[in-house]
């Protein structure tokens, strides 16, 4: 992979984010005059995560997982209940007698928070988490700016 191409230009990423999200907002503004405020809020939230995932592109596991969930129309975008697991070792961990038994393994908590994290091993999980946090905070920044510019 050509590393030079992949140098992250944060401004480019923010512009891409803004482009996707604002376009979605303009569309939502036109098409949701008859829905309740709560429904519109859900639509906006999904648009926020969709913009994040589209701006990040398919190179990231978390963005692929998010886009997959959005396309399926699933109501939960993250923090899925930890019932169905592809690996059994986490089950085994629960049976171990240990002073830290009641404290949930933090890596597992992280796996449920980062989209696509359930099946990842630790180093990939940490890399995906770093990128996910950067994109998530850029999305929050964008939304705060949009709110700011509407209310000023």
């Amino acid at each position: 992979m050509n590393r030079k191409h992949r140098t992250k230009n944060p401004n480019n990423n923010k512009l891409m984010l803004a482009f996707h999200f604002l376009r979605a907002l303009a569309r939502i503004n036109k098409s949701t005059s008859t829905v309740s405020s709560y429904q519109r809020s859900c639509i906006i939230k999904r648009a926020a995560y969709a913009s994040m995932a589209h701006a990040a592109g398919p190179r990231r596991a978390w963005s692929r997982a998010l886009l997959y969930r959005l396309r399926r129309g699933s109501s939960r975008l993250h923090a899925l209940p930890a019932i169905r697991r592809t690996r059994s070792f986490s089950h085994k961990r629960v049976k171990v007698a240990s002073p830290k038994l009641r404290e949930p393994n933090q890596a597992d908590v992280l796996r449920r928070l980062v989209p696509g994290g359930e099946a990842m091993e630790l180093s990939s999980l940490l890399k995906e988490t770093a990128h996910y946090i950067q994109c998530l905070s850029a999305q929050v920044w964008l939304m705060q700016n949009v709110v700011g510019s509407i209310t000023s």
């Binding site: 803004a18 709560y38 809020s41 690996r87 171990v96 393994n105 890596a107 928070l113």
Partner: protein, 103 residues
């Protein structure tokens, strides 16, 4: 891929032990580096609160930070929903341009 034995310690011990028992050569060093990168991504206030933290505490703080970001997206979506309803139809374009110019 089922490399782990039946008895595994939990918590941050588990992170180090699990990594060295795997045959896929991911070193403890790399894990520690990745964890410090996560620490650098935390906002200033959170970094100050945890000080010199263990790997487990850092992961916990990271989880807490991600949850707070999710909540912020929820709150901002609510606010945008109310604001959009009161906007006239010409505003989106003006406000798109303003936001883009601001960045």
């Amino acid at each position: 891929m089922g490399l782990l034995g039946p008895q595994q310690p939990r918590g941050e011990q588990a992170i180090a032990t699990k990594m060295s028992s795997r045959r896929n050569r991911i070193s403890d060093e790399e894990i520690n580096e990745l964890i410090s990168k996560l620490q650098s991504l935390l906002p200033e206030s959170r970094r100050r609160n945890i000080g010199r933290a263990s790997a487990s505490k850092l992961l916990k703080e990271t989880c807490s930070y991600i949850k707070s970001l999710h909540r912020e997206v929820d709150d901002l979506s609510d606010r945008l929903s109310d604001l959009i309803a009161t906007m006239d139809s010409n505003s989106p374009q003006a406000e798109i341009i303003r936001s883009l110019l601001r960045s």
